[in-house]
């Protein structure tokens, strides 16, 4: 009897821990900032596209919102692969208006499942903060497995 109660408690605790971990890893939005303020600052993320049961990934799409109004504007470069003739391997997008709540134009790189590289830069010195939205989708435009990993923050 006691053992069964313990099992239930354990399931709740572990379940909660697992869910909190999954939430931070699988979120499709990634906030960041250029804390050094230097113009040459580059933030670097890996976005992994995988089949989470919704279907095989066909492409990754991304856009960025510059959340700091100043001279410097935030832009992103999304990149994967080297076979770039049929489909582009790299696309970039700049949020030209940082005094609003809108994102930059949406860009797509169609290179299937696997790891995409996302670089966030800004056009001049400034303590810019930003929010990147990225999603992996199937060829039928259904959202599928997407995970963000931060590799470099400047």
């Amino acid at each position: 009897m006691k053992f069964s109660i313990l099992k239930q408690v354990a399931m709740v605790v572990f379940g909660g821990l697992m869910m909190s971990q999954a939430g931070s890893v699988l979120a499709d939005n990634q906030g960041g900032s250029f804390t050094t303020g230097l113009a040459a600052g580059v933030d670097f993320y890996q976005i992994t596209c995988f089949d989470d049961g919704n279907g095989a990934p066909s492409y990754a799409e991304a856009q960025v919102k510059d959340m700091t109004a100043n001279t410097s504007k935030v832009n992103i470069l999304l990149y994967k692969g080297t076979a770039c003739t049929t489909n582009k391997c790299a696309q970039s997008s700049l949020d030209t208006t940082d005094s609003d709540t809108g994102y930059s134009p949406l860009i797509k790189v169609t290179q299937g499942a696997g790891t995409y590289y996302l670089f966030v830069k800004h056009t001049a010195s400034g303590t810019d903060s930003y929010d990147v939205s990225a999603h992996c989708k199937t060829s039928g435009n259904v959202h599928t497995g997407t995970s963000f990993i931060s590799r470099q923050q400047q």
């Binding site: 605790v13 230097l38 100043n70 005094s99 010195s125 303590t127 903060s129």
Partner: protein, 190 residues
């Protein structure tokens, strides 16, 4: 007896996991606190009186009540990102009552978050509020990088602005020096 022993071990393991999780959260909080506590911080703008009652002779639009409500709500948020969002939107001429702008900006230059104060400096300069050159001069002496960066970004290239940009070339932070040098270079090349 054996079952009771197993139950005790199970409880101990659970307690250990929970204490690790709690210690992890506390350690993270302690790290963020210690990094901010080691610096001597001061708000250079504390005594500044914002005066943004610009004349409306330039045909400014009628206040938009929904927009005003949105800005006031964002400016009062507990989330600094939302407060910055409000100030970012005030960096342009907006369909909002001058009295509301005045209140939002006055509160923002006293904000505990330096990024919010920095964004307020930029908004005040963009709105060309009275005495904003004095504000920029004061902001250049702020302890926080984000405030000084916004001050340099907002400086014009008139005689006073150039003088302050030259002063910023001696800032402790490379980013401030870099931005000041870039602006002076752009000014000289024109």
């Amino acid at each position: 007896m054996l079952q009771f022993q197993n139950a005790k071990i199970g409880v101990l393991i659970l307690l250990m996991i929970l204490s690790w999780a709690i210690m992890g959260i506390h350690t993270a909080r302690a790290d963020s606190m210690s990094s901010s506590e080691t610096k001597l911080m001061f708000n250079s703008l504390e005594s500044f009186q914002v005066n943004c009652f610009a004349d409306d002779s330039d045909g400014q639009r009628e206040p938009d009540l929904a927009f005003t409500e949105e800005i006031v709500k964002l400016a009062a948020s507990n989330n600094p990102e939302q407060r910055i969002s409000a100030l970012s939107q005030l960096a342009e001429k907006s369909p909002i009552d001058a009295g509301v702008v005045q209140k939002v900006l006055q509160k923002a230059i006293l904000d505990k978050d330096s990024n919010v104060r920095g964004q307020a400096v930029y908004a005040i300069a963009q709105q060309a509020c009275a005495d904003f050159p004095i504000l920029l001069e004061q902001a250049l002496n702020d302890s926080e990088l984000s405030v000084r960066m916004m001050a340099v970004d907002s400086l014009g290239v008139d005689e006073k602005g150039v003088s302050l940009l030259e002063q910023a070339l001696n800032d402790d932070e490379e980013a401030v020096r870099e931005l000041a040098a870039m602006k002076l270079e752009a000014h000289k090349s024109h």
